[in-house]
Each structure stands twice: as C-alpha cells, then as structure tokens.
C-alpha cells in the first residue's frame, strides 16, 4: 500500500517539473489538474483500520475542486482573456526546471532531518510536500501572467495538502480546513482575474501592475 502511495507522490513530483517546464498555459493547467486528481486518490490509499466517511469526503472534494472545478475556471479565464501562452517569464523555463530539480533533491535531504513516526518512515510525503511548496514558490515568483501565478499558488497548496496526509487520521478537522484554501483560489480567479484586472488593465499580465510603488 505504501508502495502505491509513494508511486502517486512520485507522480505528483514529476508533474511539478512538468508544470515548471511548460511554456503554454493549457499544459500548465493540465499538469496542475492532473496533480489535483492524483492527490485526491491519496486519502483513499491511506485508509487503514476503519472506514471513515470524512476521508472519502476529503478525497472527493479534492478531486472535484483541484481536478475539475478550478482548472475549469482557469480555462474560462484564459479564453476570456484570449491568451494561450506565457511570453517571457521572469525566470526562464530551463532555469525553473533546474531550480525545481535542485529543490526536489534538497527536499529529500531536508526531510531526513525531521523525525517521523514509524508508520510514516519510508514514505515520500514530506519530501513531496516540500518539493511542491518550492515549485509553487518558483511559479509564483517566476511567472508574469496572473493565471500562471494562480497555478503556482495551487501547486503550493497541493504541497500543503500532501503534508496534511500525515495528519488525516489524527486530526481530520485541521486537514479539512485546508480545503478552504481552495476557496481562496476561487476568489483569486472569479473575483479578480476574470472580471476586474482584465477590465481595468485590458490584460492579465501582472507586469502592468506597477503603478503602486515607492
């Protein structure tokens, strides 16, 4: 069982690199939504002693939210803004990939330094979480288009979700509250990007958001 779980986490970490290397928005959104679906399966694999309906709920909410709903909203925003590809990111694709790969190796090393319960040793959850958080940061900082930044935020959030898997049986409420983070993304997307920035600036390029500075 732990083997299947680690396989999925490995897949999610691979999707991180795919997201870092993709220059076109549709492929970035696809990588992110696939990661969402992969993450959705994990709580079901962790299920051990007894059947817990809350765990099923988290799995369904994750797959629906991260895998279908938010990517759908982002695709709509992308069409409304009429953009297909990201031109000239702040951090190029190759440097992003190198940073991401370096970050993944660092995450594995860093995870060794933290003590884990016997049932979690040998699992890739902690390195996977750290790697995804780092990937999210690289995308947040290194991309110019608002939609790419939202994708970065979602991957960062996926990393936090991965970490939450460690706690899903002891404190389900804490993990469930993480789903609220998805609501944040909803606000990002619906409230700001689609209607407002687009209307006010006639673009979704955050490089145009430079009026406010010292």
């Amino acid at each position: 069982m732990s083997g299947t779980l680690n396989l999925l986490i490995g897949l999610a970490m691979g999707l991180n690199l795919l997201a870092l290397g993709s220059s076109r928005l549709p492929s970035l959104i696809r990588a992110m939504s696939m990661q969402g679906v992969v993450l959705g399966f994990m709580p079901l694999l962790l299920e051990h002693e007894r059947f817990d309906w809350r765990v099923i709920l988290i799995a369904l909410a994750t797959m629906g939210g991260k895998g279908v709903l938010i990517p759908g909203l982002l695709r709509r925003a992308m069409r409304a803004a009429n953009i297909e590809r990201e031109i000239q990111p702040f951090i190029g694709y190759i440097p992003s990939l190198l940073l991401g790969a370096g970050g993944t190796i660092m995450a594995v090393a860093l995870a060794r330094a933290l003590p884990l319960l016997p049932e979690h040793t040998g699992s890739l959850l902690v390195p996977g979480a750290i790697a995804s958080v780092l990937t999210g940061f690289i995308l947040l900082i290194g991309r110019a288009k608002a939609i790419s930044q939202v994708c970065g935020y979602l991957i960062l959030e996926n990393g936090i979700y991965l970490f939450g898997m460690l706690l899903i049986h002891s404190t389900p409420l804490l993990v469930e509250s993480g789903i609220l983070l998805d609501v944040t993304v909803g606000v990002f997307v619906i409230g700001i990007i689609v209607d407002r920035i687009q209307r006010a600036f006639d673009s979704l390029d955050t490089r145009k958001l430079t009026t406010l500075h010292e």
Partner: protein
Amino acid sequence: MKSALLIILPLAGAALSALWRNNRTRPWLLPVVGLVHLILTFWLFINPPVVAVNAWLGFDPLARAVLPAVSLLFMVCAAYGVSYLRIRSERPNRVFVTLLLAMLGLLSAGHQARHLSLLWIATEAVTLAAVPLLHFNGTPRAFEATWKYLLVGGTGIALSLLGSFCLGYASLYGGGGGDLTFVALTAQGAGLSRPWVLTAWVLLLVGYGTKMGLAPMHTWKPDAYGEAPGIVGAILAGGVTTVAFTAILRVRAVVGAAGEGVIADRTLLVIGLFSMLVAALFLLGTRDFKRMLAYSSVEHMGILSIGAALGGAGVAAALFHVWTNSLTKGSLFLSAGNIRRAAGSASMDDVRGMSILTPRSAALFVTGMFAVTACPPFGPFFSELRIVRAALASGHGAATAMFLGCLLFAFFGLTRVVFGIVDGRPRTATIANSRRFVETAGVILPPLALLGLSLWLGLFTPAVLQDSWTAAVAQLFPTR
C-alpha cells in the same frame, strides 16, 4: 454562550445587510450592530465568563485583553461609515456593509479561538472578507492593490496552515491524541517534538506575520492601505493585525512550553527591530500620506513584536500598545480619508495647504500624527515607554537604542509628509475639488473620539484594563 453571540450577532447583521434593499438606510446597520457588539463586549469585559479549559472558543483573558479595543474601534468606524457611505451614495454599498459586519464577527472569532484550526479558519475568512472592501473605489490602482494583497496574503495564510500542520505533527509525534487546542498543546509541553515545533514556529511566524505586516512580509500593506477607503484601512490596521498578533502570542506560548521560548523571543525581537528599521527608512522616502500610514503601521507591528519578545512585562506592555495603536491609528486613517477625499489625491506632490481647505481634519491629522509618534500625554507614549522599560529591565540595551533611533527617524518621516500636505498654499485644482467636501460632524467626530480615547488611555489608564493585561500574561506564561 455570550461569547459565541459576539460572533453570531455580527454575522446575522451581515446576513440582514445582504437582504436589506435600501441603499440609503443600509449603512445604519453598521453602528447598530457595532453598538450591540460593543455593549456585549464590555459587559463580558466587566463580568469575565468562566471558560472551560478545553473549549475551542471562549472569551478567555487574552481575548478580554484586546477584543474590547477592536470592538471600540469598529463602533467608531461604523459611525464614520454612515457619513462616508452617504458621501459615496453613488456606489452600491451592499457588499461593503455586509462584509464589514462579517469581518467584525470573524475578528471576534479569531480573537476568541483557542484551537489551532479554528484560529486559522477565522484568519483565513477575515483575509478573504477584506478583498472586496479593498477595491471598493473600483479604480485600476485599487485592483492592483487587491491583487497584491491576495497574492501575498494568500501565501501567508497558506504558510500558516503548513505551520499549523507541523505543530499538529509535533503533537502527534510526541504521543498527543490529536487535541489541538492551545491548552492541550501547552500541557503537552516538552513532549512536543522539538524539530517540528521549531519548523512550525518559523512557518507560523511568517504566515501570521504576513497578516500582521511585519517586514519583510509587509509588501501588501502600503498598496492596500493606500488604495482602500480610510475606514477599511482603520479596521485592517487596528483589527486584523491584532488577530494575527494574538495568534502569534498563543503560538508563542506553546513554543515556550515546548522549551524553545528563547529562540522564539530572539526571532520576535529581530523581526520586530527589522520591521521598525524598514518602516523608518520607507517613511523617510514616501510621498503619499496614505501609504505613510501603512509604513507607520509596519513600524507599530514591529513595536508589538519587540514587546512580545520581552517576556511577561513586555507582553503586558504590548497589549497596552495594541489599544493605543489601534485607536490612534484609527483616528489618523479617518482624518486622512477626509483629506484625501477633499484633495482628490494622496500625494505630497499634488496636495498642499489642507489646513486652509479642511481645517478640522488637518488639525486632527496633525494631532494624531503627534500622538502616534509617541508624544505625551497620548496613549502610545506610555505604552512605548513601558516596552522600553521592559527592554532595559531584561538587559536589551542595544535593542533599546535601535528602537529609539527608529522611532526618531519615523518621527522625521511622518512630520515631513504631514506638514508637507497641511502647510503652504493650496493648489487651484485642489481648491475646486475640496468645495465638494464638507466637514460635517459625521466625518469629524469619529476621528476626534478616537483621539480622545487615545488621550484618555494615556492619562488615566484604568486599573481594570491593567488587570486584564496582567491576566492575559498569566494565561500566556502560566508558570510565572
């Protein structure tokens, strides 16, 4: 039960406001709900309820020490809101009023949260509720500020959730049964896994520090405060930052119980001094008087953080400073809002001679500026004096010197901007614009009331307030 009413009541008010049809009468819900909330808060303040040890939510000593200040600030801002929304009657205010009331409820929840995830949920919800308030003005600049607020604030809350997870794992690793109330975590104390506690502390300090606006996580603040209406700025600077500060205090107590208090205090001191330094430098450079208030807020968050790093006496002084800073800063935000509206711009380059065009607001603004830069006999002077005394008593000589130096530079920066816009001869364009703004009692009395409260806090700090701060310190440092 009554403590839950503090949350339910404003939320019910928000629901009512969402259904209220009349755009002209809707703003009156703000002072009505605010007043009921204020009465209830002070009733609870005088008759503190007994909070069950393992309660997830309760009017505990820490909530008692700060929530009344937030309620007071909200009440005055709500009274101002009625006049403000009458001036802005051209804009629909349904969303604005609803979310302001919702924020009051969520702020009450955040202050009273005694559970790690409940605290996080409340902070997250407050963050999201503030979003539409920030772009109430609907200008491209406002949307730019909102986007930055969401990006930086969103990352902050994400990191604080990760930190909460780490603290949860520290408890699980130490054999905890999954009870994440702060009481249970503190009781587990040295049983918590130290590496995980330290990881959690860093993440939570960065996460909640972003909400508080500690440098270098403060970057959203100047933009948001610069573009949001004055009333929103006042509540963000006096209410939301306070929730984040109490969150840091609660987490600090757990870290202290786990035996890492020294490291926690050191990080708080360093980040506090750094915030003060950054704020002082930017205050010397900024040319926008609303952004100036944001940097002043960063400075005062630094002061709170330093107070929190100094043990019991420092925390009590910091809680005092929460009161004086919230009320004084509120007065500044409201009078700055008046000046901004009359002048049509917030930049020193365009605005001059406001003492001629808006004499009352300008007088309030200048007095408020002196109050916030710690001129006696206003409140901030006494709270900052206590922090300095706590710092000297605990042997932080160099830190105190730096603290005072930053205060001096901040004073230079603030006076430069404030007198720049107040003095001189007004521009013709400004004169034309200011004719449309009348200094009615509705926009002058609220900031005056806040300034009066700040003066009163400085001159006659009531014993019952002092007791509430001491009780909060006793809750946070149970052994001393």
